[in-house]
Amino acid sequence: MTAHAGVLCSHCLLHIGPRAMRRTLNGESCAFCCYGCCIAYQVKSGRNEEWEAAWLLIRLGVGGFLSMNIMLFSLLVYTGVDARMLPWIHVLLWAFATPAVVILGEPFLRETWCNITQGRLASSTLIVVSVSAAYLYSVVAVLERSTYVYFDTATMVLMLFTVGRYLEAAGRARAARDLEPLLAAESEYATVVSGRSETRRPVREVSAGILVRVRPGERIPVDGVVVEGESHTDEAVITGESRQVAKAAGSPVIAGSVNLDGPLLIQSSRAGTATRWAQICRSVRDALIRRSPTQRIADRVVGAFVPFVLILGGATALYWGQRLPFDRALLVGLAVLVVACPCAVGLAAPLATSLGIGRLARCGCLVRDPAALEALARARLLAFDKTGTLTSGRARVVAIESDGTAIDEVLARAAGLERHSEHGLAHAIGMTAAARGLEPVIARDVRTVPGRGILGNAKGQPVAAGNGALMHGLGWPLSQGLAELGRSMEARGHSVVYVGWGEQVHAVLSFDDTPLAEARTTIEALRGRGMRVTLLTGDLAQSAQRIAAAVGVRLGDIQAGLSPEAKLTALDRYRQRNEPAAMVGDGLNDALVLARADVGIAVGSATDLARETAAVVLPSHGLWLLPWVVDVARAVRLTIFTNLMWAFGYNLVALTLAVLGLLQPVLAAAVMAGSSILVVVNSLRLERLPDPLPSPMAERSSLDEQSVAHNVALAPVFERGRSTRSAE
């Protein structure tokens, strides 16, 4: 909590904004976005026995007591009392109303004053003006012994707005539930074990190599490795998939995942502030603090609205003053002020946005800026990068051509040799051999020839696997047919490895990146949502077309062989034709485009979140979440839109009724309080959005799971493989 701009409300986690209040509760300094949150927070965390917390509730209770009594005595007056009693009842009402107005009105007055000193007119100004007008008029009426006083109006308006703010804040806190685990990383404590003692320490003080105990039901505070214990964890916050992962000694665990059923002793592998969870926490906090473009417009409208309503209220009172007695005309004017209080407008966008961001973040999808969410909702064009986005980014054997030798023998010999290599292609050969249940032929005297391949001896014969240059260098003959096949495969953008033994080349293996299992369904789902899908890639046209055909991108929507700058130009061209364009990439070799697109979406990015340029970040293997993310973005936008329509429309209708003198001020206050509660309820509907459909990943074989695990370790090798290829 350093700068004023970066603070979220302690209760509802919305940006505190101009209505900010600060209190010290339970020894912690808390900031609240409004009076309602201040009350609701104290009601929620009622464990405290501190003076200040109780004092607020006492004031509310006493205020309620006084205003309810005023209401009841006014009721007595309305049902008719002796004319001699009337002045005394009025004095009694005055006696009740004065403390009630002071007690209940003080927060509104303070808010108004704070805003006026900053040169703004907040919506609370309307409440203050109307309540003080009703009160002052009634005081004069008591002194002049006239028949009507309006103390009940003054206090009931205050009471209703207070209750309205409380209920609204209580509703908003529900919206914050999804966000709490994500923001907890900064305030979480870890149970640090040193020797026999266990101490609770803030996560930010935990460094690498420290032992941490995590009990069942607790959140794992640090990245690390299990030293002791067995349990299951739920890693949904990080991976986006809510399923139980078994953990035992030696298993890696991720900070932010929930330890489900057994105690674990974990050795942390990095500092508590360097975990992905902590990065997510910072990213979510940043996103919540930013205002969405719609909200900025709405705020500006509210700013102009308040003075307008003040003038309108005055004009209405003057107009009716010529036709009605002064007190009735005043009431009509007050009803105008009260009913026009634009509390709901200020709430329309932030609540929906924070619900959307929380909902997405709970499934591992991060949004850096509310504006990105709105742009994604409007986007009709989605451009995909190919490698690592629609494809796995890992090589796989796609074809084996031999001179008549059995394929299994080729694979067994090649696998025996490649076991000694860490190259990405070598790994692919090993995987294919294992998938066919082959026993690798053991090779000896193995040595690698950098940039060419690998050599060894097996079954008393020299064996080699590598590119054409290696075979050429060895002087091993290559049959015309194999050479031709190899060349055509290379022309199609495949990587090629020749395998030979006994001083002859026997086979050629071609490798390709494979489309992700979920790519086709994802693209179909996006198209079903009315989006145009294109492929922008730096790869060769042939390989782009093959992948496009496999994942279901139309041939006319492919642009291949593009440099990053060319991708940007292509995207700009689309943008001129269409609405905002979104770019989906892996965040590695397309960072420039992701940063400059209207919405940059990074999938499974391994890069540091802090340096991430994309506005939306999906978890690793999270491509399948994309249609759901679009759904959420659209639902958020629709909610903001309906909220604004409701808030403004409601204001407009109610305002018209009030100007026509058809609305009592107390009823107007009830209507207004109801309006903001309706906005909250409408926004909370976002909670009921369906979860993302279960991923097709669950169907993947366990073999593939292993390869995922390996991939983490071998990532640099693949990088090298890919860069050599693109250099070619």
Binding site: G46, W55, V62, L72, L75, T79
Partner: protein, 241 residues
């Protein structure tokens, strides 16, 4: 007047049910270290707060009933002898609600109980505990005000009864009579502490149940029976105008 005396008695009988929850609060409010007078003041303030809330709820429910009964928004004198259709419906609804509450006192309709008491009251109660220990003189008053809003089947039953009177003032009087009826027991709880034996409490709950059942049946009868006019005359006829 008989009507309100009946309500007072029902409140008195029902208050033995209150001892379970609100009585606990009254005990917790306890004695004031400043002496006997201060203790009495504390409990009077607490009960005044509670009573105010009840009266307010009664007036509100009555006004709501009036809005339902007169959809045109024109104030109609409700006491013209016969009951109109809207008020009959209201009486039926209130009567059924009261019978439901009463059955629940006898240990039936437990699900109904969860429905009645499940409006997030627990967190509210928790936060109110801070008021019990606060040293301020006004704290018992504030506590009483909030206490009145706590979900309680007994209060619901009487609020329904108040709504069926279909006017703010009789609604207010209904709840006032009920609230005053609960006064003695609650004051006693504050004074004598936990002196009441469990057997007596059970008897109290049965008594409360019977009373509310009877009241519910009569209210229902006002809505259904063709001769309702008689009962209707006998009771609402005595509403002060």
């Amino acid at each position: 007047m008989t009507y309100y005396i009946t309500l007072f008695a029902a409140g008195f009988a029902g208050s033995f049910h209150c001892i379970g929850m609100c009585g606990g609060f009254a005990c917790a409010l306890g004695r004031d270290p400043h002496g006997h007078g201060s203790t009495v003041l504390r409990h009077l303030l607490y009960n005044a707060g509670r009573l105010t809330t009840y009266c307010f709820l009664g007036a509100l429910a009555g006004a709501l009933g009036q809005v339902i009964c007169t959809p045109q928004g024109v104030t109609v004198s409700l006491l013209r002898g016969s009951l109109d259709a809207g008020q009959r419906l209201l009486a039926i609804a209130a009567g059924l609600l009261m019978i439901g509450m009463a059955l629940q006192f006898f240990g039936l309709l437990q699900r109904f109980h969860h429905l009645a008491a499940g409006f997030g009251g627990s967190t509210f109660v928790l936060s109110l505990r801070s008021l019990l220990t606060a040293r301020s003189r006004a704290a018992p008053l504030a506590f009483g005000v909030f206490n009145g809003f706590l979900p309680c089947p007994l209060v619901y039953a009487f609020v329904a009864e108040a709504a069926s009177t279909a006017a703010a003032f009789p609604g207010f009087l209904t709840m006032a009579a009920f609230g005053l009826g609960t006064f003695p027991a609650m004051l006693m709880m504050g004074g004598v502490g936990r002196a009441l034996a469990p057997a007596w409490r059970r008897r109290g709950v049965w008594l409360a149940g019977s009373y509310i059942l009877l009241l519910g049946l009569i209210t229902l009868g006002r809505g259904i029976l063709p001769i309702a006019a008689h009962i209707g005359h006998a009771w609402p006829g005595e509403y002060p105008t």
